[in-house]
């Protein structure tokens, strides 16, 4: 990864879904090693912005680059495997065991599978490796997602309400994951209503209001 190129480089990005403008004129640059807290009220556009960065939604207008790749071009598909996402709903196959879920993620991305046991221990699921996703609590499923991202080692990690459903001990996983990404010269974006908790982890905060970025606060 070229450390001169910003991890996220948005200029004048807008997103229109149907007749609704969800994001308007968003300028956002995230450099290597940054952890950015993204705040805003309900419907402010936080999850949409996260989805644009994750390449799941194409910008309607503006210039958008993630990890050096233009999101308006076809190359955007090539960058997806380098972006880790933990959203509202755990992305696990309910019929498969936690170990099988991680095994598939490793195989599909070309990672070795021999670290699965250790990572499951790290997130406190060492004893639940053989349990199917549907038999796990929401909190356990969230932990399994953190295990997946620790295994896949993304260059950019996007966390939407990362503390939800995690107990105090598990909440440390958020810090563990973001610090491991930053240590590899990556970056992290944390979307949350829990400003106090996220600001402890973030090097910078930005706020969305009605689809526009209204505030930026550098903590360095």
């Amino acid at each position: 990864m070229d450390s001169q190129t910003p991890v996220v480089d948005f200029s004048g990005v807008a997103v229109r879904l149907g007749s609704t403008v969800v994001l308007r004129d968003v300028d956002l640059t995230i450099d290597h090693g940054e952890v950015v807290g993204l705040f805003g009220g309900n419907g402010a556009g936080k999850t949409t912005l996260l989805n644009v960065i994750a390449t799941a939604i194409r910008p309607t207008a503006g210039q958008a680059r993630v990890l050096g790749v233009d999101l308006n071009g076809d190359e955007r598909l090539t960058v997806r495997g380098r972006i880790g996402v933990i959203g509202h709903n755990p992305a696990l196959y309910p019929e498969l065991t936690l170990w099988e879920n991680l095994d598939i993620a490793c195989r599909l991305t070309g990672r070795p599978t021999d670290g699965i046991g250790d990572v499951l221990q790290t997130v406190g699921l060492g004893g639940a490796a053989g349990r199917q996703g549907s038999q796990c609590s929401y909190g356990m499923q969230r932990r399994a997602e953190f295990a997946r991202e620790l295994l896949l080692e993304p260059d950019l990690v996007l966390l939407d309400e990362p503390h939800s459903a995690l107990d105090v001990a598990a909440a440390e996983l958020v810090e563990h994951l973001t610090s491991s990404v930053v240590a590899r010269s990556g970056a992290a974006v944390l979307v949350s209503h829990d400003r106090e908790r996220v600001e402890k982890l973030a090097s910078r905060s930005v706020e969305l209001e009605s689809g526009s970025l209204v505030d930026g606060l550098d903590r360095d």
């Binding site: 994750a54 390449t55 799941a56 598909l77 090539t78 960058v79 997806r80 495997g81 380098r82 972006i83 880790g84 996402v85 959203g87 709903n89 755990p90 992305a91 196959y93 019929e95 498969l96 099988e100 598939i104 993620a105 195989r107 599909l108 991305t109 070309g110 990672r111 070795p112 670290g115 199917q132 620790l150 295994l151 896949l152 080692e153």
Partner: protein
């Protein structure tokens, strides 16, 4: 942790997805415990509807078998693809899975299930309809070729039905592409078709399979984009 990452190949991704789908089906049992019994029951009920006339049943049995295989077979594959949750679809995007690998993997798993479906419903047909199986060697080629066509057709149709507003298009897509499969399969097993003619019908199924594979590859990426 610094793992050594090897770029996954199309075939390795497709194999992983096929294994995943078979394992999920093994645990969920939707094909085995829901669709397969309905297929067998359909073959059982038809004689009650049209009257138990053994010569007639013997004559129409193979045709009915292929109709049931086509209708239920497409159901097997469409349901599997369309039933994916948004989160499961997002996971494939997040992992950077090649949409062509996804198509091939899903279709391969469907083919395996459809071959099993055909064998069970075929056994029921032979038992209930007293059909002449003098041409059973043809089935060795016919069963996998039809399964490949249906597997691809169902996966493509499932991808479309999973996209916004796409569900209404499925019957219009499935019907024209399923008709040559049905026609060729029925004619291949028809005792009045000359041996040389069977080859022509089998070739038609191969052509349909190839056309479906090309359509699948060309539409895989756009369908992934709009889901």
């Amino acid at each position: 942790m610094g793992w050594i990452v090897t770029e996954p190949t199309l075939s390795s991704q497709a194999l992983t997805i096929a294994g995943r789908d078979i394992q999920r089906e093994r645990r969920r049992g939707e094909v085995l415990w829901v669709i397969l019994p309905f297929g067998a029951i359909a073959m059982l009920l038809i004689p009650f509807g049209i009257g138990i006339d053994t010569p007639m049943l013997r004559r129409i049995g193979p045709g009915l078998f292929w109709v049931v295989v086509l209708l239920f077979g497409v159901l097997v594959t469409v349901r599997r693809t369309a039933a994916d949750t948004d989160t499961e679809q997002a996971l494939m995007l997040r992992l950077g899975v090649d949409p062509v690998a996804e198509l091939l993997g899903r279709s391969a798993a469907s083919v395996a299930m459809l071959i099993g479906f055909q064998l069970v419903v075929g056994a029921v047909t032979i038992a209930l309809y007293d059909v002449d199986i003098a041409r059973w060697p043809v089935l060795i080629a016919l069963v996998p070729l039809v399964a490949i066509g249906l597997g691809l057709l169902g996966t493509i149709a499932g991808g479309i039905s999973g996209s916004s507003g796409g569900a209404n298009l499925v019957p219009f897509l499935v019907a024209p592409l399923a008709i040559p499969l049905l026609l060729a399969a029925t004619q291949s097993m028809d005792g009045s078709t000359p041996t040389g003619g069977i080859l022509g019908w089998l070739l038609l199924i191969v052509v349909v399979d190839i056309v479906l594979a090309v359509i699948g590859v060309l539409t895989a990426r756009p369908l992934q984009e709009i889901r």
